[in-house]
Subunit: 163 residues, 2 copies
């Protein structure tokens, strides 16, 4: 079913999650996952960080990436409310996978080789919710970001039963 003209321009641009410590999260999403920080937008009490994978083989300039930020898919927005990173009374954010607060489940990154990606994650000290060897689903894994949000790691060739 083709889209009608009314929604033809629509893109699933981004997903926003709140993070306790912006430095830790930026380090994780750029160094561990390989995303790039496209923009940082500071306001009085919070800062927004927009990250995404570069699919231009390094050809797009930072300015082009910035201009295209809202005109693409696969962007991750991190909201940092200032002060949470050093507030001893801040209990942390809900990851959405347990009550109370169940709803959001995870974000997912597809990779060409899950085993190899997970070996690298282990070397980098990343925490796992599920290693490829855990349970029955050997071809997928779940890693945890610094706030404990789940990130599914699955192959780009993934097919599910029933497909």
């Amino acid at each position: 079913m083709p889209r009608t003209a009314e929604t033809a321009s629509f893109k699933f641009n981004h997903t926003m999650i709140r993070v306790k410590d912006a430095d830790a999260s930026i380090k994780f999403y750029t160094e561990v996952l390989g995303m790039e920080l496209i923009s940082k937008n500071a306001f009085d009490s919070f800062t927004l960080y927009f990250l995404a994978f570069d699919h231009s083989n390094g050809e797009d300039s930072a300015e082009t990436k910035l201009l295209n930020r809202a005109n693409r898919e696969g962007v991750l927005e991190l909201t940092h409310n200032h002060g949470t990173e050093s507030d001893p009374n801040f209990a942390g954010y809900a990851n959405g996978n347990k009550d109370p607060g169940r709803g959001f489940g995870h974000i997912a990154v597809t990779v060409d080789d899950v085993e190899k990606a997970c070996e690298r994650f282990e070397k980098l000290g990343v925490k796992f919710q599920k290693k490829p060897s855990d349970g029955r689903m050997r071809h997928i894994a779940f890693i945890l970001d610094p706030d404990g949000y789940w990130i599914e790691i699955l192959p780009t060739t993934m097919k599910l039963p029933g497909e």
Copy 2:
């Protein structure tokens, strides 16, 4: 900073949220937002639905979309735990924006004309968290999906202060 070979294949493939009533959610994401249902994967106690916008101008077949499901960005996964849609004791899912359960914030859809898109949403009876005319940010809106998850509507040309 170009990506290293180790993460060169990585894509931000999907975001997963749990939904109470699969039929209501599928109707909303396809008819209101214009996404397509790429696959439906039923298990004993739950069913997974994968939706995404078609950016091929209707040229990709359903089979091609299915094959590319994990090899693209901008996919939305809905998890329906069977029975919640008719369980009077089910309290609903947390949308992530209030305590307890604060963490995940929203997904965002970019559109060429926010005013026009929102006029259409109003006609279709969509609930708003923030209409374009509310508050100071006149160029963005937040609509609510059937579970109350926030969906930001912003222009594809969006630029933020500080950029």
